[in-house]
Amino acid sequence: MKFSLLPLVAMVGVTAACPKSTGQEPEPEVAFSRSQLLENLADGVFVPTYQGFVDASGVLVDRARTYAAATGDARAAARADAQTAFLDAHAVWQRADLYQVGPAAPSYRPGGQNIRDEIYSFHDGVNPCAVDQQLVANEFGAAGYFDQRLIPTKGLDALEYVLFYDGADNQCPPPATINTSGAWAALTPAELGTRRERYAEALSQHLHTQAQRLVQAWSPEGDDFRKEFLARGETFSSERDALDAAFAALYYLELFTKDRKLSVPIGLHVDCAAAPCPEFAESLWSAASTRHIEQNLIAFRDAFSGNGGYGWSDALVAEGAEELATRMTSHLDAAIALVNAETRSVDELVRSDPEQAQRIYEAVKAVTDDLKSQFITVLNLSVPDEGAGDND
């Protein structure tokens, strides 16, 4: 064995002493480390976005309260203010929706507490009929009411419905109890309006509370998930596991933005029985679906670039994949520009200009194609929910 090991030992010594590059120019020190990426994702990307939603939902609570209290001519302006505050808050959440890591994530993910579903439930989604049933029951003024309710009656999508829809009808089928019993028909337009305002007020408060809960869950004063995310322990046994969790969050762009928000309405997805399917577009009541896609892309870019700190692109560069980092940045910028220039909502687009909808789809796909292939191999990441198993 001496004969076999000696050259190896010598080779280790000699090559370890060599600089990384054999070229003339010494390479600059690479300061990047994956732990720095995790740290900045937590401190520079995730938590500031969650905090942004706390602030925006706080404004929304104020506006919804004002709307609920408004009477007479002031109601229309108060409603418009509440709608604006809603759209602002929803835009922030569309960024936070991409950061479903730890407490925001589903409970089957590491550290998951399902907080996201309390705040927004697209695409499994809100059930407007269930909201109408709550309006009839008229019990939503009770403290902790929404904590006991099922997902289809709460969240930004439910709030959007009561803030933006003012029709006298409901979304339940004729055989539903609220219709057969005459309970809905018994509501006067004024009473229905009041209940919608109060529902919006109560639900805004619930969303604000959930937003605070999310920030608290990351804070040292709360569950301190940040510590779990950055240190090795029960939740993440290695730095790689934590990175996998952050990477899984990026798949939102593929699974939700591309496959749900675009593919289904366009009619590329089998869930659309007869193309196109504008009824499956996001945010039909506020017609903000295109803006949401833009915010998703911006959130992806923030995590990718690091939002002023270390981001995924730095990890790619550190591994020698500058070309991929540049290409993905370029694809992201192109997709954002394309969506930013579009004033029509997705449901409008698929009806009137399906080619443009398809172009947006392809622009998003250009980003996710790289994400699902070279990005994974360069950084040796695991696809979401891959589950344990052996290799060889």
Binding site: M1, V12, T15, E323, L371, K372
Partner: protein
Amino acid sequence: MNAVSAQPLGRDRRWRRWAQREVSLASLAAFRVLFGAVLLVGTLRFLGRGWIEKQYVEPTFFFKYWGFSFIEVWSPTGLYLHFSAMALCAALICLGLFYRVATVGFTLLFAYAELMDVTNYLNHYMLVIWLCLLLCVSPAHGMWSLDAWRAPRLRRHTVPLFLLVTFRAQVAVVYLYAAWAKVGADWLLHGQPLDIWLSSRSDMWLVGPLFTLPATPLVMSWAGFLYDATIVLWLSIPRTRPVAYLVVLGFHGFTGALFDIGMFPGIMSVATLLFFSPSWPLRFVPHRAPPTTNPRRPAWLAPLLMGFLLVQVLLPARHVLYGGDVLWHEQGMRYAWKVMVREKAGSVTYRVVARDGHRTWHVAPTDYLTWRQANEMSGQPDLILQLGQHIAWDFARRGRGDVAVYVDALVSLNGRAAARLIDPGVDLTTVTDGIARHAWILPAPASPPLGG
């Protein structure tokens, strides 16, 4: 003339005499005990980690092996019974009780479990099957077994050397083909994919910082290659064998800590003990052999083992017939000991086009597969083909009409920019799978891997 022709005949006879001489059974019996224990631990680990659910219950579609499409997945209850029976057989192998039934039973059950879904293929599962097949024809229960204790007629203390040599040859084939798989620019010049893997493990205790040194991946690549290429030689030389075995333990212990390779380190650590003297266990566990032995040796055994070895030598080499980069096209990739030599991921989207032209769908593999299956599938053309054809069948079943299925499979190998793996203009419903070279698989990208 006679003198000249007599010499090779004499050599042949000497070789036959050498191969057919009886040697101690102790080494093989010890292997049976230890290997049986590894199989038992491996099966219980599989059960305990909930992998039956993940790998066999959760999926709704299973990839078939070519020629084994009749294999079906059991119901959940059937699966648990299947794996429980495997654990029982493994325990019986270890104890040497009802050995023949247990070895045949384990082999069939294990092979069936692996044949249920191609995405669960692992090289070391294949090694388990081959070693089990050898155990099936070996009298490894002749000593240190409950069979020998309860039935004196089964007792034996020797075994023909050629049987032991076949086991050693099987292990040697694994190492040597694993070395061959590493002969290529990616591994030996660019240190890939080790560079990629080590970079993501820089937080590993003690050795993690070493992984960030620029030279480490290449050094470790060469070390791995030299280990695979020469370890059989060092294990075969009595003087170097003890140190070589320590290297085996170190190598497999290290790679086991570094990668999720399951029972592979245990299997190889046990199997390489077969290179020691056939009587090595007697130094630790004295055993009184009878004064005479009466070896029972079926006439079919030697030819059968010769055929087995021929398969072992030829099967892993078949990829040369296909040309190109086997890590890319994967034809000849399985059963070939190409162990941990590629990092591959792909973005696969099926374009399903109604033949009457009224509609096009984009179908994600995860509409049909678990994430684990989709990930395994994304770099393997035959699996992409299988799912494409299943999608066409499913569309017809759901009344969506007759469809053509095309695929956009953008695949990255060892950190390269993603390239098309499959011709996007080929309707997968018109393709027949088989062992012939597939023209619908596009050539590998010519660019170097990451860092090249």
